[in-house]
């Protein structure tokens, strides 16, 4: 069952991750301030908790799934070079390994 969850792509690029983090921190802080003031006014701390919980759920919905706005700056990977000659690429690695052992 876990393989189904792992196969859903959930990556964001780096600017997207920064944006997601700023979004959820902002939402939770704003809902905390609103909740604190509202609870202070109506004299019930339970409402403060409910408002912060609502902010938590909202930021879950906004930042957990990989929305397209978090994928605006994808990294430009190099094009794949097909492996035509395998040996020349292995030999320098072996030479490096021998140097490290000494």
């Amino acid at each position: 069952m876990l393989s189904i969850f792992k196969s859903i792509p959930s990556h964001m690029d780096y600017k997207g991750q920064k944006l997601a983090e700023q979004i959820f921190q902002g939402i939770i802080l704003i809902s905390a301030v609103i909740g604190f003031v509202y609870g202070l006014i109506i004299e019930q701390f339970g409402w403060t908790v409910y408002i912060v919980l609502a902010g938590f759920v909202l930021s879950c919905v906004l930042t957990l799934p990989p929305w397209p706005m978090y994928r605006q700056n994808p990294l430009s990977w190099q094009p794949i070079i097909p492996e035509t000659s395998a040996e020349p690429s292995q030999k320098p690695q072996e030479a490096l390994k021998k140097k490290k052992h000494k």
Partner: protein
Amino acid sequence: MNTVLSRANSLFAFSLSVMAALTFGCFVTTAFKDRRVPVDIHVSKVMLKNVDDFTGPRERSDLGFLTFDLSQRPPVGQLLVVPIFDWNVKQLFLYLSAEYATRSNALNQVVLWDKIVLRGENTKLSLRDVKSKYFFFDDGNGLRANKNITLTLSWNVVPNAGILPLVAGSGHVSLPFPESYETTKSY
């Protein structure tokens, strides 16, 4: 911040830290409040008996029965209004205790009655002709003809977050007990 789980983890941890800061803020806003309310205690009837006390070492001990009223000091229609419920108070625990001195002990304190007032319940309590809830046993025969027995109403404020203040002695009254047994003394 690459997978859903790590994002969820940091989101949840941030929410909990913010919640802890809010709870601390809640505590700070009510930490220095004065929670005393002046209360009038009026005792209407006292009766004294000398009975076998099976919980103690002696043969017979003094047992007192009290009937009293509690009301607010600027008399508000004889009801006990409790205006100290704010957003950090979960419940109140009121108790009435009697303090006196005898020949064998310098100080005795006995709790006679208590009540738990929850938040959201009726905060105007009608406390007239309340009988004592717990046995007022003395360790011996020290209650008879005792000149001075002091009744004090104290309360405990149970908060949502913070210290539990024990507010002692909002009001107290001293009264002498009857001279002989099985006689009711009215005040």
